[in-house]
Amino acid sequence: MRLLATGVLSATLILAGCAAPTGVITSSGSQVETRQMQTREYDTLDKRNTLRSVVSTLQDLGFVIDKADYDLATITATKVQNYEIRMTVTVRERDGKRLAVRANARFNSQTIDDPNAYQDFFISLDKAMFLTLHEVD
Protein backbone atom coordinates (compact mmCIF):
# COMPACT_ATOMS: atom_id res chain seq x y z
CA MET A 1 0.00 0.00 0.00
CA ARG A 2 2.78 2.32 1.00
CA LEU A 3 4.56 1.45 -2.23
CA LEU A 4 1.43 2.29 -4.25
CA ALA A 5 1.03 5.61 -2.47
CA THR A 6 4.67 6.46 -3.12
CA GLY A 7 4.22 5.54 -6.80
CA VAL A 8 1.10 7.70 -7.19
CA LEU A 9 2.82 10.61 -5.43
CA SER A 10 5.90 10.30 -7.62
CA ALA A 11 3.80 10.12 -10.81
CA THR A 12 1.82 13.21 -9.72
CA LEU A 13 5.01 15.12 -9.04
CA ILE A 14 6.52 14.08 -12.39
CA LEU A 15 3.35 15.07 -14.27
CA ALA A 16 3.16 18.38 -12.41
CA GLY A 17 6.77 18.98 -13.38
CA CYS A 18 5.96 18.29 -17.05
CA ALA A 19 2.92 20.59 -17.16
CA ALA A 20 3.22 23.27 -19.86
CA PRO A 21 4.59 26.46 -18.27
CA THR A 22 1.56 28.49 -19.40
CA GLY A 23 2.53 31.53 -17.33
CA VAL A 24 5.93 31.76 -19.02
CA ILE A 25 4.64 31.19 -22.56
CA THR A 26 1.51 33.35 -22.52
CA SER A 27 2.08 35.62 -19.47
CA SER A 28 -0.73 36.65 -17.18
CA GLY A 29 -0.67 40.48 -17.02
CA SER A 30 -3.43 42.75 -18.35
CA GLN A 31 -3.26 43.02 -22.15
CA VAL A 32 -4.81 46.49 -22.11
CA GLU A 33 -2.34 47.85 -19.55
CA THR A 34 0.59 46.29 -21.36
CA ARG A 35 -0.44 47.87 -24.67
CA GLN A 36 -1.01 51.28 -23.09
CA MET A 37 2.42 51.26 -21.46
CA GLN A 38 4.15 50.13 -24.65
CA THR A 39 2.40 52.40 -27.17
CA ARG A 40 2.68 56.03 -28.18
CA GLU A 41 0.72 57.73 -30.95
CA TYR A 42 2.14 60.34 -33.32
CA ASP A 43 0.19 62.82 -35.48
CA THR A 44 1.63 61.69 -38.78
CA LEU A 45 0.90 59.11 -41.46
CA ASP A 46 4.50 59.03 -42.70
CA LYS A 47 5.29 55.38 -42.04
CA ARG A 48 8.65 55.42 -43.82
CA ASN A 49 10.13 58.31 -41.81
CA THR A 50 8.61 57.02 -38.57
CA LEU A 51 10.32 53.65 -39.10
CA ARG A 52 13.56 55.44 -40.01
CA SER A 53 13.29 57.45 -36.79
CA VAL A 54 12.82 54.20 -34.86
CA VAL A 55 15.95 52.71 -36.49
CA SER A 56 18.00 55.86 -35.76
CA THR A 57 16.82 55.98 -32.14
CA LEU A 58 17.69 52.31 -31.65
CA GLN A 59 21.17 52.97 -33.09
CA ASP A 60 21.58 56.01 -30.80
CA LEU A 61 20.69 53.79 -27.83
CA GLY A 62 23.35 51.25 -28.86
CA PHE A 63 21.17 48.62 -30.54
CA VAL A 64 22.12 46.56 -33.59
CA ILE A 65 19.20 45.85 -35.96
CA ASP A 66 18.39 42.14 -36.25
CA LYS A 67 15.26 42.33 -38.43
CA ALA A 68 13.57 45.12 -40.38
CA ASP A 69 10.42 44.87 -42.50
CA TYR A 70 8.93 47.96 -44.13
CA ASP A 71 5.66 46.32 -45.30
CA LEU A 72 4.87 44.91 -41.87
CA ALA A 73 6.46 47.96 -40.21
CA THR A 74 8.38 45.88 -37.69
CA ILE A 75 11.94 46.31 -36.37
CA THR A 76 13.73 43.94 -33.99
CA ALA A 77 17.03 44.96 -32.39
CA THR A 78 19.48 43.89 -29.68
CA LYS A 79 21.62 45.91 -27.28
CA VAL A 80 24.48 44.30 -25.40
CA GLN A 81 26.60 45.61 -22.59
CA ASN A 82 27.07 43.55 -19.47
CA TYR A 83 23.39 42.76 -20.05
CA GLU A 84 21.24 42.09 -23.11
CA ILE A 85 18.06 43.88 -24.22
CA ARG A 86 16.05 42.58 -27.17
CA MET A 87 13.34 44.84 -28.46
CA THR A 88 10.63 44.74 -31.14
CA VAL A 89 9.04 47.96 -32.40
CA THR A 90 5.96 48.01 -34.64
CA VAL A 91 4.19 50.90 -36.37
CA ARG A 92 0.45 50.72 -37.10
CA GLU A 93 -2.04 53.21 -38.54
CA ARG A 94 -4.82 54.36 -36.18
CA ASP A 95 -8.15 55.74 -37.47
CA GLY A 96 -6.48 56.77 -40.74
CA LYS A 97 -5.08 59.81 -38.91
CA ARG A 98 -2.23 58.77 -36.67
CA LEU A 99 0.52 56.22 -36.32
CA ALA A 100 0.85 54.11 -33.18
CA VAL A 101 4.39 53.03 -32.31
CA ARG A 102 4.53 50.03 -30.00
CA ALA A 103 7.68 48.70 -28.36
CA ASN A 104 8.14 45.58 -26.28
CA ALA A 105 11.44 44.53 -24.76
CA ARG A 106 13.15 41.86 -22.72
CA PHE A 107 16.05 42.40 -20.35
CA ASN A 108 18.17 39.24 -20.24
CA SER A 109 15.45 36.60 -19.72
CA GLN A 110 12.80 38.85 -18.17
CA THR A 111 10.05 40.94 -19.80
CA ILE A 112 10.52 44.65 -19.13
CA ASP A 113 7.30 45.71 -17.40
CA ASP A 114 8.53 49.00 -15.93
CA PRO A 115 6.51 51.84 -17.56
CA ASN A 116 9.46 54.22 -16.96
CA ALA A 117 11.68 52.20 -19.31
CA TYR A 118 9.15 52.55 -22.17
CA GLN A 119 8.63 56.21 -21.26
CA ASP A 120 12.41 56.76 -21.62
CA PHE A 121 12.42 54.99 -24.99
CA PHE A 122 9.58 57.20 -26.31
CA ILE A 123 11.28 60.37 -25.01
CA SER A 124 14.35 59.33 -27.04
CA LEU A 125 12.13 58.56 -30.07
CA ASP A 126 10.32 61.93 -29.75
CA LYS A 127 13.61 63.70 -30.49
CA ALA A 128 14.12 61.69 -33.69
CA MET A 129 10.43 62.14 -34.66
CA PHE A 130 10.66 65.93 -34.39
CA LEU A 131 11.63 66.40 -38.05
CA THR A 132 8.98 63.93 -39.28
CA LEU A 133 6.29 65.71 -37.28
CA HIS A 134 7.35 69.20 -38.33
CA GLU A 135 8.18 68.56 -41.94
CA VAL A 136 7.88 71.64 -44.14
CA ASP A 137 6.40 71.01 -47.58
Binding site: R48, R52, V55, L61, Y83, I85, D114
Partner: protein, 192 residues
Protein backbone atom coordinates in the same frame (compact mmCIF):
# COMPACT_ATOMS: atom_id res chain seq x y z
CA UNK B 1 29.67 25.70 19.00
CA UNK B 2 32.40 28.31 19.05
CA UNK B 3 31.32 31.82 18.05
CA UNK B 4 32.90 33.14 14.88
CA UNK B 5 34.69 36.50 14.97
CA UNK B 6 32.58 39.43 13.68
CA UNK B 7 34.84 39.91 10.64
CA UNK B 8 33.94 36.42 9.38
CA UNK B 9 30.26 37.25 9.76
CA UNK B 10 30.73 40.51 7.87
CA UNK B 11 32.64 38.81 5.07
CA UNK B 12 30.00 36.09 4.80
CA UNK B 13 27.22 38.70 4.75
CA UNK B 14 29.02 40.72 2.05
CA UNK B 15 29.55 37.62 -0.09
CA UNK B 16 25.88 36.68 0.34
CA UNK B 17 24.77 40.17 -0.70
CA UNK B 18 27.08 40.20 -3.74
CA UNK B 19 25.72 36.79 -4.78
CA UNK B 20 22.14 37.99 -4.29
CA UNK B 21 22.65 41.22 -6.27
CA UNK B 22 24.39 39.47 -9.17
CA UNK B 23 21.66 36.81 -9.30
CA UNK B 24 18.92 39.44 -9.58
CA UNK B 25 20.41 41.83 -12.17
CA UNK B 26 18.02 44.71 -12.75
CA UNK B 27 17.49 46.94 -15.77
CA UNK B 28 19.91 49.92 -15.59
CA UNK B 29 18.00 53.21 -15.27
CA UNK B 30 19.72 54.71 -18.29
CA UNK B 31 19.16 51.74 -20.64
CA UNK B 32 16.71 53.70 -22.84
CA UNK B 33 18.13 57.19 -22.29
CA UNK B 34 20.39 58.90 -24.79
CA UNK B 35 23.82 59.09 -23.18
CA UNK B 36 26.09 62.13 -23.30
CA UNK B 37 28.44 60.23 -25.58
CA UNK B 38 25.61 59.19 -27.97
CA UNK B 39 26.21 62.12 -30.36
CA UNK B 40 29.97 61.59 -30.35
CA UNK B 41 29.48 57.89 -31.10
CA UNK B 42 27.03 58.77 -33.87
CA UNK B 43 29.74 60.89 -35.55
CA UNK B 44 32.27 58.06 -35.28
CA UNK B 45 29.71 55.67 -36.80
CA UNK B 46 28.46 57.90 -39.65
CA UNK B 47 29.81 59.05 -43.04
CA UNK B 48 28.06 60.86 -45.89
CA UNK B 49 28.48 59.66 -49.48
CA UNK B 50 27.58 61.99 -52.36
CA UNK B 51 26.62 61.26 -55.99
CA UNK B 52 25.46 57.72 -55.29
CA UNK B 53 22.05 56.07 -54.97
CA UNK B 54 20.84 54.09 -51.97
CA UNK B 55 21.01 50.88 -54.03
CA UNK B 56 24.65 51.62 -54.99
CA UNK B 57 25.58 52.22 -51.34
CA UNK B 58 23.81 49.05 -50.18
CA UNK B 59 25.49 47.01 -52.95
CA UNK B 60 28.89 48.49 -52.02
CA UNK B 61 28.20 47.72 -48.32
CA UNK B 62 27.34 44.10 -49.00
CA UNK B 63 30.47 43.93 -51.20
CA UNK B 64 32.64 45.07 -48.25
CA UNK B 65 30.93 42.56 -45.96
CA UNK B 66 31.60 39.78 -48.47
CA UNK B 67 35.23 40.94 -48.80
CA UNK B 68 35.56 40.51 -45.03
CA UNK B 69 33.81 37.14 -44.87
CA UNK B 70 30.49 38.23 -43.34
CA UNK B 71 27.12 36.61 -44.14
CA UNK B 72 24.14 38.90 -44.74
CA UNK B 73 21.40 38.19 -42.18
CA UNK B 74 18.91 40.93 -43.01
CA UNK B 75 18.36 43.38 -45.87
CA UNK B 76 15.44 45.83 -46.09
CA UNK B 77 15.97 48.29 -48.93
CA UNK B 78 12.95 50.48 -48.07
CA UNK B 79 14.49 51.31 -44.70
CA UNK B 80 18.12 51.12 -45.85
CA UNK B 81 18.91 48.41 -43.28
CA UNK B 82 21.60 45.78 -43.88
CA UNK B 83 22.71 43.45 -41.07
CA UNK B 84 25.45 40.85 -41.20
CA UNK B 85 27.47 38.62 -38.92
CA UNK B 86 30.49 36.36 -38.78
CA UNK B 87 32.19 34.05 -36.32
CA UNK B 88 35.92 34.66 -35.97
CA UNK B 89 38.89 33.56 -33.91
CA UNK B 90 39.16 35.59 -30.70
CA UNK B 91 42.49 34.32 -29.45
CA UNK B 92 45.79 35.93 -30.35
CA UNK B 93 48.92 33.77 -30.61
CA UNK B 94 50.48 35.74 -27.75
CA UNK B 95 47.54 34.93 -25.53
CA UNK B 96 47.69 31.20 -26.28
CA UNK B 97 51.46 31.11 -25.55
CA UNK B 98 50.93 33.17 -22.38
CA UNK B 99 48.16 30.92 -21.12
CA UNK B 100 50.08 27.72 -21.81
CA UNK B 101 53.07 29.21 -19.95
CA UNK B 102 50.75 29.99 -17.02
CA UNK B 103 49.46 26.42 -17.08
CA UNK B 104 53.00 25.03 -17.02
CA UNK B 105 53.83 27.25 -14.03
CA UNK B 106 50.59 26.14 -12.39
CA UNK B 107 51.52 22.46 -12.93
CA UNK B 108 54.98 22.96 -11.45
CA UNK B 109 53.51 24.63 -8.37
CA UNK B 110 50.74 22.11 -7.86
CA UNK B 111 52.40 18.96 -9.20
CA UNK B 112 51.41 17.04 -6.11
CA UNK B 113 47.73 17.81 -6.70
CA UNK B 114 47.78 17.42 -10.45
CA UNK B 115 47.37 19.94 -13.31
CA UNK B 116 44.02 21.55 -13.95
CA UNK B 117 44.83 23.65 -17.04
CA UNK B 118 42.61 26.52 -15.85
CA UNK B 119 44.20 29.32 -17.85
CA UNK B 120 44.05 27.67 -21.26
CA UNK B 121 40.56 26.24 -20.78
CA UNK B 122 39.27 29.63 -19.63
CA UNK B 123 40.90 31.56 -22.47
CA UNK B 124 38.87 33.18 -25.23
CA UNK B 125 38.15 31.06 -28.24
CA UNK B 126 35.70 32.48 -30.77
CA UNK B 127 33.81 35.70 -31.20
CA UNK B 128 30.57 36.46 -33.05
CA UNK B 129 30.56 39.90 -34.65
CA UNK B 130 27.28 41.56 -35.64
CA UNK B 131 27.14 44.65 -37.86
CA UNK B 132 24.27 46.86 -39.02
CA UNK B 133 24.55 49.37 -41.90
CA UNK B 134 21.74 51.94 -42.08
CA UNK B 135 21.60 54.03 -45.27
CA UNK B 136 19.42 57.15 -45.08
CA UNK B 137 18.91 60.02 -47.55
CA UNK B 138 20.55 63.25 -46.43
CA UNK B 139 17.86 65.85 -45.75
CA UNK B 140 19.89 68.68 -47.32
CA UNK B 141 21.15 66.94 -50.44
CA UNK B 142 19.04 64.78 -52.77
CA UNK B 143 22.06 62.95 -54.18
CA UNK B 144 23.73 62.14 -50.87
CA UNK B 145 23.20 59.35 -48.35
CA UNK B 146 24.45 58.95 -44.81
CA UNK B 147 25.71 55.53 -43.80
CA UNK B 148 25.68 54.63 -40.12
CA UNK B 149 27.41 51.51 -38.87
CA UNK B 150 26.91 49.85 -35.49
CA UNK B 151 28.84 46.81 -34.31
CA UNK B 152 28.68 44.34 -31.43
CA UNK B 153 30.79 41.38 -30.49
CA UNK B 154 30.22 38.33 -28.30
CA UNK B 155 33.35 36.52 -27.12
CA UNK B 156 33.00 32.86 -26.11
CA UNK B 157 35.49 31.06 -23.85
CA UNK B 158 36.87 27.62 -24.74
CA UNK B 159 34.49 26.02 -22.25
CA UNK B 160 31.49 27.43 -24.19
CA UNK B 161 30.64 30.19 -21.71
CA UNK B 162 29.95 33.76 -22.82
CA UNK B 163 33.14 35.59 -21.84
CA UNK B 164 32.28 39.10 -22.92
CA UNK B 165 29.63 41.01 -24.92
CA UNK B 166 30.07 44.61 -25.96
CA UNK B 167 29.19 47.36 -28.39
CA UNK B 168 32.28 48.33 -30.36
CA UNK B 169 33.03 52.03 -29.95
CA UNK B 170 36.64 52.13 -31.18
CA UNK B 171 36.84 54.93 -33.80
CA UNK B 172 39.68 53.17 -35.67
CA UNK B 173 37.53 50.09 -36.35
CA UNK B 174 34.78 52.25 -37.87
CA UNK B 175 37.30 54.28 -39.88
CA UNK B 176 38.78 51.06 -41.30
CA UNK B 177 35.29 49.96 -42.39
CA UNK B 178 34.51 53.28 -44.03
CA UNK B 179 37.85 53.25 -45.88
CA UNK B 180 36.89 49.90 -47.33
CA UNK B 181 33.36 51.11 -48.10
CA UNK B 182 34.72 54.14 -50.03
CA UNK B 183 36.89 51.78 -52.06
CA UNK B 184 33.94 49.44 -52.59
CA UNK B 185 31.71 52.28 -53.86
CA UNK B 186 34.43 53.07 -56.41
CA UNK B 187 34.88 49.40 -57.37
CA UNK B 188 31.11 48.87 -57.78
CA UNK B 189 30.90 51.94 -60.05
CA UNK B 190 33.80 50.67 -62.12
CA UNK B 191 32.15 47.23 -62.29
CA UNK B 192 35.06 45.41 -60.60
Amino acid sequence: MRAMPPTVHRTAATLFLVALVSACATLPEDAFRLSESAMELRQIQTRVYADVSDVEILAASSGVLQDLGYAIDELEKELGVLSASKRADATSEAEIVGNIALDVADCILTFLLGCENHSYQGSKDVQDIKITFVVLPESRDNNAYSVRLTMQRFVWAKNGELYNQETISDADVYQAFFDKLSKSVFLEKEGV
